[in-house]
């Protein structure tokens, strides 16, 4: 495909002593930030026009970072059990130690 994963730059500054984080951690956290936005924010269309709305239930990254919020779930009124976690498994394989 030739197009690298498009992650926006992310930098880290410590109070009184600016420093940059290691590149690998930067990319990882940036990916979490990306997922938080892509899955959790943005415009939504209510109703039947949508054949499909992402089967996002709770996507856990690493230990305890919940990316898809309860609000998103409520919004869509999906009372289903978190079967959507099947998607999470392959996601999490590339994202560890959030």
């Amino acid at each position: 495909m030739g197009v690298a994963s498009p992650l926006p730059p992310r930098r880290s500054v410590r109070g009184r002593s600016p420093r940059l984080l290691a590149q690998s951690r930067q990319r990882r956290v940036s990916l979490c930030e990306t997922l938080d936005r892509v899955l959790n924010k943005g415009a939504v269309i209510a109703g039947d026009i949508v054949i499909s709305v992402a089967d996002v239930e709770l996507v856990y990254l690493g230990v305890n970072l919940v990316v898809a919020s309860a609000e998103t779930m409520r919004e869509w009124g999906q009372g289903r059990p978190p079967a959507g976690c099947r998607g999470a498994a392959s996601l999490a394989s590339g994202v560890t130690g959030a």
Partner: protein, 255 residues
């Protein structure tokens, strides 16, 4: 008219038909061609999508979703859709654009020429409780009183101490958030305060910043960070599409 569905990435203001190339979600075994479907001056950025099943939040789908938003962002202000919207066809997309025309225009105007910058401030300490006990003599005295006795504290007493800590944490977050947003005042048109997801998070902010103001914003991060003690870590990211500033709940097109 195409027979397959349309995956919708976001909305932009343009009257022309644009082609962003084959960078979309996979369609027919290849990255789908990304183009616009417009009504008057408002356009949806879409690609063909044949899948009958739900679009799963897999890496192979999330990556192109975000890639398209990033690519479109280079030349236009995009109101991003949240992941996973597939319309039946182009006509459905057009009907939805038409039906929501006013709110779409309002939203596109509000974020026009602006990008989102993320700023997370964290306490970079091993034990946040210890950190606060060190800062707050009242909390320290209460803790010492409870745990310095010959008998163990009761659950109720521990809960009370925990609540005291929580209140102190919330106060500190609120005060620092105010301090930081005030320091950035000149650099943003809107700010969104997201609830912290982790106990070490002081604040999780998103700023809506003019595109040409990104450099000044970044400079401001360094300046503001310099006024904080070393156990505060400032993480900033961006520019992003205005994910945190989209308040659209579009209505489906009337059948």
């Amino acid at each position: 008219m195409r027979s397959s569905g349309c995956y919708v990435y976001g909305l932009i203001r343009t009257a022309e038909n644009k082609d962003f190339g084959c960078i979309g979600l996979e369609h027919d075994g290849r990255p789908g061609r990304v183009y616009t479907v417009s009504v008057d001056s408002v356009a949806a950025v879409v690609s063909e999508y044949a899948g009958r099943d739900k679009v799963l939040p897999l890496r192979r789908n999330l990556e192109p979703h975000h890639r398209v938003i990033r690519e479109v962002m280079k030349t236009a202000t995009i109101v991003p859709m949240s992941f996973g919207h597939v319309a039946r066809n182009e006509a459905e997309v057009q009907r939805t654009l038409r039906r929501n025309r006013d709110s779409l225009r309002g939203e596109l105007d509000r974020v026009d020429g602006k990008v989102e910058m993320g700023l997370k401030v964290k306490w970079d300490v091993d034990n946040i409780f210890e950190h606060f006990v060190g800062l707050d003599p009242e909390l320290a005295a209460h803790r010492d009183e409870l745990f310095g006795r010959s008998h163990a504290p009761t659950p109720a007493e521990k809960i009370e101490l925990g609540q005291m800590f929580e209140r102190r944490l919330a106060q500190e977050r609120e005060a620092q958030t105010e301090r930081v947003t005030e320091a950035f005042r000149a650099h943003f048109s809107e700010v969104k305060v997201n609830p912290p997801k982790h106990e070490l998070t002081v604040m999780d902010l998103a700023f809506l910043v003019p595109r040409e103001g990104v450099t000044a914003f970044e400079k401001c991060v360094y300046e503001v960070a310099g006024t904080f003690p070393a156990q505060y870590l400032f993480d900033f990211s961006g520019p992003w599409a205005p994910f945190n500033f989209v308040e659209l709940d579009l209505h489906q097109a009337a059948a």
